[in-house]
């Protein structure tokens, strides 16, 4: 350990009370940012699960739908057309219905997805049981969130008098924060017709076409080959869901502003600390300590404080996460944690850098008597 490390760590170890203040402030900021981050992730993942957790990597829509699965209206015959388009490896129908239903414990808010199981758009997150077989009528896989309402394998979920027996459980598949059930296109259409009588005369209508496209496929060219359609990647389909992009950008703005506050907190703390240690730093410089080593010591202290803030803030946030009601969409992701940890360390570093000029300006000659 060099002299800089010796100064940095000894001061933290023996001046715990003082550093507790800055570590507490940073822990609080990390806690706040992690909770906001978990809400942002919860909202994003809750809204987009149904288009992320499937085998499809692109979706076709009718032109007037603006990328919305709900608004889009296509015909079952479009599936063949998309399948024949350049760069499309496979295509399958998707029907979507946002509705109310009845589960074992009463009424439920639901999104019913009708897909050709095995084809594009099939969920990839089965955790229990099985998916419906291709063409199987009257059965469905349910999102694990429905388990809170008593939906399990062997129970039944009914929509407008049409019922489906649950044969499997999938996760991370909700749509617009609604839990989903996944069934055949025929069962989906029967449920749709039951609750939306105005659509009963459209036996071949579907909402969208899920596709598996080649990595280098030109989505515009695919859309151009079928009149009045647009094609979006699965990711873009998620972002096109109303509110998703806006929520993400609002919450991210709050998160990054809060992290900027972390940099200010560190800058202020070390500015005060350096001011207080001016006399000591002058003496150390007189003894032959290069300014760079004093600077490194301050930066090491800022990084150690930030790292402690990340650890404590994370533990508190995870503890607090257990107290958040299950119906509040929160999700603690390792990716988000790593990003926030890195940003907090960067904020600590940037904050400490502001003190370097102040340290450089300290004149070692002031260590001895007065100036004259």
């Amino acid at each position: 350990m060099g002299t800089a490390g010796m100064l940095a760590t000894a001061e933290i170890r023996r001046g715990r009370g003082r550093f507790a203040a800055v570590v507490s402030a940073l822990s609080l900021i990390v806690f706040l940012v992690l909770i906001l981050g978990s809400l942002a992730d919860g909202l994003f993942f809750g809204a987009t699960g149904a288009v992320r957790s499937t085998t499809a990597n692109a979706y076709g829509f009718s032109n007037d739908a603006e990328g919305s699965l709900i608004r889009s209206r296509l015909d079952i015959s479009d599936v063949e057309r998309f399948a024949a388009a350049p760069g499309v490896e496979a295509a399958g129908p998707v029907g979507v219905l946002l509705t109310g239903g009845v589960g074992p414990e009463g009424e439920l808010d639901l999104a019913v997805f009708g897909v050709d199981v095995g084809g594009p758009g099939t969920p990839t997150t089965l955790v229990d049981g099985r998916l419906p077989d291709p063409g199987e009528i009257g059965v469905a896989a349910a999102d694990s969130q429905l388990q809170r309402f008593g939906v399990e394998i062997g129970t039944t979920v009914a929509v407008g008098g049409e019922s489906a027996e649950i044969v499997g459980i999938v996760t991370d598949s909700s749509y617009q924060l609604q839990p989903t059930i996944w069934t055949s296109v025929d069962t989906w259409r029967a449920m749709r017709d039951a609750v939306r009588p105005e659509l009963r005369g459209q036996p071949t209508s579907i909402n969208s076409v899920a596709m598996i496209v080649a990595g280098d496929a030109d989505l515009t060219a695919i859309a151009a080959s079928i009149p009045d359609t647009t094609v979006l990647t699965a990711e873009a389909t998620g972002l096109a869901i109303p509110g998703v992009e806006q929520q993400a950008s609002t919450l991210n703005s709050i998160i990054y502003t809060t992290l900027a506050v972390a940099a200010l907190v560190v800058a202020l703390f070390f500015a005060l600390l350096v001011l207080e240690k001016r006399e000591l730093f002058a003496a150390l410089k007189a003894l032959g300590t290069p300014t760079s080593r004093l600077g490194v010591a301050v930066i090491v202290q800022a990084l150690v404080s930030s790292a402690l803030g990340v650890v404590i803030g994370t533990l508190v946030a995870r503890g607090f996460g257990l107290l958040i009601p299950a119906d509040v969409p929160t999700l603690f992701r390792t990716d988000t944690l790593i990003t926030i940890a890195v940003f907090t360390l960067v904020a600590g570093f940037v904050g400490a850098v502001f003190s370097l000029r102040r340290i450089a300006r300290i004149d070692p000659a002031t260590a001895i008597g007065g100036a004259l």
């Binding site: 000894a10 006399e279 003894l287 032959g288 300590t289 000659a365 260590a367």
Partner: protein
């Protein structure tokens, strides 16, 4: 600022004496051609034009290896300025300072930092120990600056602490030490890097007479035993009896005091 620009040191010393600022001529550098420390015609002027203040006027001084000298003077007399220039903390307006074969004024800021770490030991007025390092760590810190190996550093720190009677206090923080103990740690720290020159700034200012004497006696012993060169700035006449020679600065003019015992009167 270089030696070549300076007038004859002998003539200079005579000039200083002729101004009648001290009881005897300033020491003459020519008489000590092999002295470890040679200060020649050092002047320091603060400010410029009408506001210029001459803190030090053509000071000339030579101190031999193994000598321990006192620099006396009231506050504002220029003694701090002189010791700061000798220690490479302040650049002179003109004149030269050489320590061994190093011309201090010719060093860059970075070289001065290195020079202070390797060749100079400082004992500050209020000890100025690192408050969050133990007595032993305060010594080891200096060893870290000069790149001493860990085992050498530990051995030297323990030896110095032993000589200074601080073995039992090695693990104490400065706040747990008395004023005298703190100053003794500061002496150990100043000797840790095995410097050529030890500069001591008012070491007894915060101590009572008995403790002050003890500290200066210890300082003298360490400097003599190790063959170092020591300069102690003080305004305490009682401490000059422990030094080999005494210089006095009044209004920026340095003079050699021939009979220190007469100073009190």
């Amino acid at each position: 600022m270089t030696a070549s620009e300076t007038p004859d040191p002998v003539a200079q010393a005579t000039d200083s004496a002729a101004e009648g600022t001290g009881p005897a001529p300033a020491v003459d550098a020519a008489a000590h051609p092999d002295a470890l420390l040679q200060v020649r015609d050092v002047t320091k002027v603060y400010g410029s034009g009408h506001t210029a203040v001459t803190a030090l006027a053509e000071a000339t001084l030579a101190v031999e290896k193994g000598e321990f000298v006192a620099l006396l003077g009231p506050s504002g007399s220029g003694k701090t300025t002189l010791i700061s220039i000798i220690g490479g903390l302040l650049a002179p307006t003109s004149g030269s300072v050489t320590i061994g074969d190093t011309d201090v004024a010719s060093l860059s800021r970075k070289q001065l930092t290195r020079f202070r770490a390797e060749r100079v030991g400082f004992v500050f007025q209020s000890a100025n120990l690192v408050p969050f390092l133990t007595a032993r760590e305060n010594l080891l810190y200096v060893a870290g600056l000069v790149g001493m190996t860990k085992s050498d550093a530990r051995a030297r720190a323990d030896q110095l602490l032993g000589e200074l009677g601080l073995t039992d206090r090695a693990r104490n923080l400065p706040e747990q030490l008395s004023g005298g103990e703190r100053q003794r740690v500061a002496i150990g720290r100043a000797l840790m890097n095995d410097p050529d020159l030890v500069l001591v700034d008012e070491p007894t200012a915060a101590l009572d007479t008995a403790l002050g004497r003890q500290v200066v006696q210890l300082l003298r012993r360490e400097i003599k035993d190790r063959g170092k060169t020591g300069i102690m700035v003080t305004h305490d006449l009682r401490m000059v009896e422990y030094t080999d020679r005494v210089f006095e600065i009044l209004d920026g003019h340095l003079t050699h005091v021939e009979s220190p015992s007469a100073l009190g009167h």
